[in-house]
Symmetry: C2
Subunit: 438 residues, 2 copies
């Protein structure tokens, strides 16, 4: 077993050893941030307990903290204002840096004195996007989501004939990527009122969230040279929470024939901490699909995917309305699911994306598509939870929701947890709806 | 009239005054390039006749060449290895730089001695992408293309009900943007053979080109703050030729419900020289659509668009097969059309793109969609020219084509030309098909 997965390992930082902590010594996720209000460049950070290690400051401590060779190179690459350089170094470097951090943070480490001055409380951080995302792609990899949404958009043809063969995806908009905590205006656009033959220009009336995970890519590939499925694992740097905010009424009018556009490109939010694929290792699971379904074509078929292509990540959706916030009430949990229901693994997504010759660059982002589970209570969107707006959710304070209202804050959370392994948390990805322009 | 549009203006550089020259003193398009084989950074260039002005070298000559104030700032911004900084400065700066260059290049200019050492023959240039394109969007703005392609993909429903209301678009892939002269591998992917119920993995058998124009964006907008239609003109820096290479068989299998993905993302090529919107000014025309068609919603309606939203750009498609190249035969012209047939103006595209809050950044690229004219001979793709592969084109050497074969070089050319105005050329955008991976 990789040392860094030892569930018994403890840090000299007490907050990292608390039960339920998202960021124990076995996690070590990466972000880019700076101290709130500071006049300094943002730089790479690693979370531990309720603190973050300022990697730029740690790089200056360098050898005293035990970093040299590849781990030292990787630490330097991670101290810039984006993590693209670290992502470009590949899995050996990621692993060496992670091990160096683990050793420096574990109880009794001689590096403690050198690391201690590099700590900043998480509460003091202002986050930035962790990478310059040149291209962002969004998949559609949950068959449960595809089937239930398909039923609403295309009652006669809920699951398109290609769905079980092709990991369906579309290109997203990277300019409007934002972080946890962002508040965005309700979009406006063309909507076709029920029964009308001409559209109207209106604020979106069916504003929704989509619970997705995001994957940050590593080294990438040369244009024209696909990444074989058995090399895809080396390409996944780590994962974040991703909310693909969606304007359902704009979407249903615009999406034929070229797919969603304004319905999705006004805002996409991600969580600031990238949980590395290596940290998720203890939660890898076999990937399979019903024997009655078509099995993957050879370019999407791989022993490693079969044996451990799925990842056991528990997903929770929380909602806090404006009325709740004003009354001092915390958010309510409105749905739970698990990423291991996903119909296509992230490795199949990477292989498919490049098989025609398309190239990834370090820091590119993939969304997995809405992660809905097999039951309606496990849905990853309000469209599904409210059955297309027909069955409102009733919240504990008596308010009801079919779609999001102005002032609503929608929060995605996720974590891995099971006996015999350390908890690996993702933190959260929240976003708040502001009223549309007048 | 803007001085730089004077059709009588002549340059001290004789090649710029030749009839038929793409780059007379009234054009002054921008590119990024370096001398072939040189150990230097790429930098901004402006074409004049058969030469380019090295803007980095000109910036060092600075005042001697007559540049100061805003024109000097813009010249400095254009001397870097991308034009993003120039694009971010906005139309006053673009115009000042253009006027400075015009004055320095016109016959009798006292700046001639300072400019002369900055000239490099076009034949000696190695081009780079003119901007770092953060996001690339592709529209579908030719109704003639939409109708004839729609007929092939959806015989019952060629023009979708939204088409005349929504400037349909999808997000494209910026990582695989390439320049004129690029040779790319024929993509492979999933294809559904006729009559089959399961797909096969195969090299694309219906490889096509799409003749589009590209628009490079200027300053952009803040997320959540749309660009009003009457301000869109200030956002268009300039235009290039764009070939949206398309794998028709991959596309027809994958594109429902989220749009084309692998069918398009293996390669998109553009011409290296960006013709500024200002240079195209004499070719602006009224924009209209049949009175029997729905007229644009107010956010897409504007007096300036009505009066001069269309642009009279003549389009020519040329094909040189491998056999022709081996026999020393030049390319044959297989189609011609005009950009003024476009159903949506580029200004409406910009307004629509941002109306929901999506943000543009300087250097973002918009494709106009395939520019097909009203008759089949004016089609902008082989799919249309060959009626879905049913009617092969016969070339003068006796070869036939439904779709592109390995070794084919497809060349887009465009120019503006009319009595009383100088010719404004775009140069060309060629690409060559290499065999698929084995």
């Amino acid at each position: 077993m990789n040392l860094t997965h030892d569930p018994q390992a403890r840090s000299w930082l007490a907050s990292a050893n608390q039960p339920g902590c998202d960021f124990p010594i076995q996690n070590l996720p990466f972000a880019v941030a700076l101290r709130k209000g500071a006049q300094e460049n943002a730089r790479g950070m690693v979370a531990i307990g309720d603190q973050a290690i300022d990697l730029a400051q740690l790089a200056m401590a360098g050898a005293a903290a035990g970093f040299s060779g590849l781990a030292g190179e990787a630490l330097l690459a991670a101290s810039g204002s984006t993590l693209n350089a670290l992502m470009a170094m590949g899995p050996k470097a990621w692993s060496a840096l992670r091990l160096g951090l683990f050793n420096a943070l574990k109880a009794g480490s001689p590096a403690q004195a050198a690391v201690q001055p590099c700590l900043i409380p998480l509460a003091d951080l202002a986050y930035r996007l962790p990478a310059q995302v040149a291209d962002y792609t969004d998949f559609y990899a949950s068959v449960h989501h595809a089937r239930s949404v398909g039923k609403l958009f295309r009652p006669d043809n809920p699951l398109t004939p290609n769905y079980q063969w092709v990991p369906i995806a579309y290109h997203g908009r990277s300019s409007s990527l934002q972080l946890d905590g962002y508040a965005f205006r309700r979009p406006r656009g063309q909507i076709l009122p029920p029964g009308a033959s001409a559209p109207v220009f209106s604020a979106c009336k069916r504003l929704d969230y989509e619970f997705e995970l995001g994957v940050f890519l590593g080294q990438g590939n040369v244009q024209g040279e696909p990444i074989p499925i058995d090399q895809t694992e080396e390409q996944a740097f780590g994962m974040v929470l991703l909310n693909d905010w969606s304007a359902r009424d704009i979407q249903s009018w615009e999406y034929v024939p070229l797919g969603p556009f304004l319905a999705k490109n006004f805002c996409t939010t991600i969580s600031p901490w990238i949980v590395t694929l290596e940290a998720l290792e203890p939660y890898r699971q076999p990937w399979s699909r019903p024997a009655s379904d078509p099995q993957p074509l050879p370019y999407l078929e791989d022993r490693s995917v079969r044996e451990r292509g799925a990842i056991d990540i528990q997903l929770e959706t929380w909602l806090q309305t404006e009325a709740m916030a004003k009354a001092g009430k915390a958010a309510d949990r409105i749905a739970t699911s698990n990423f291991n229901h996903c119909y296509w693994s992230i490795f199949q997504m990477i292989a498919h994306h490049t098989v025609g010759g398309c190239n990834f660059q370090p820091g590119d982002l993939i969304g997995t598509g809405t992660q809905s589970g097999p039951t309606q209570a496990e849905a990853g969107s309000l469209l599904e939870l409210s059955e297309g707006g027909k069955t409102p959710l009733t919240l504990p304070n008596g308010e009801t929701r079919t779609f999001l209202q102005d002032g609503d804050t929608l929060i995605l959370k996720a974590f891995c947890e099971k006996p015999g392994a350390a908890r690996i948390g993702f933190g959260q990805c929240a976003g708040t709806v502001l009223p549309a322009l007048g």
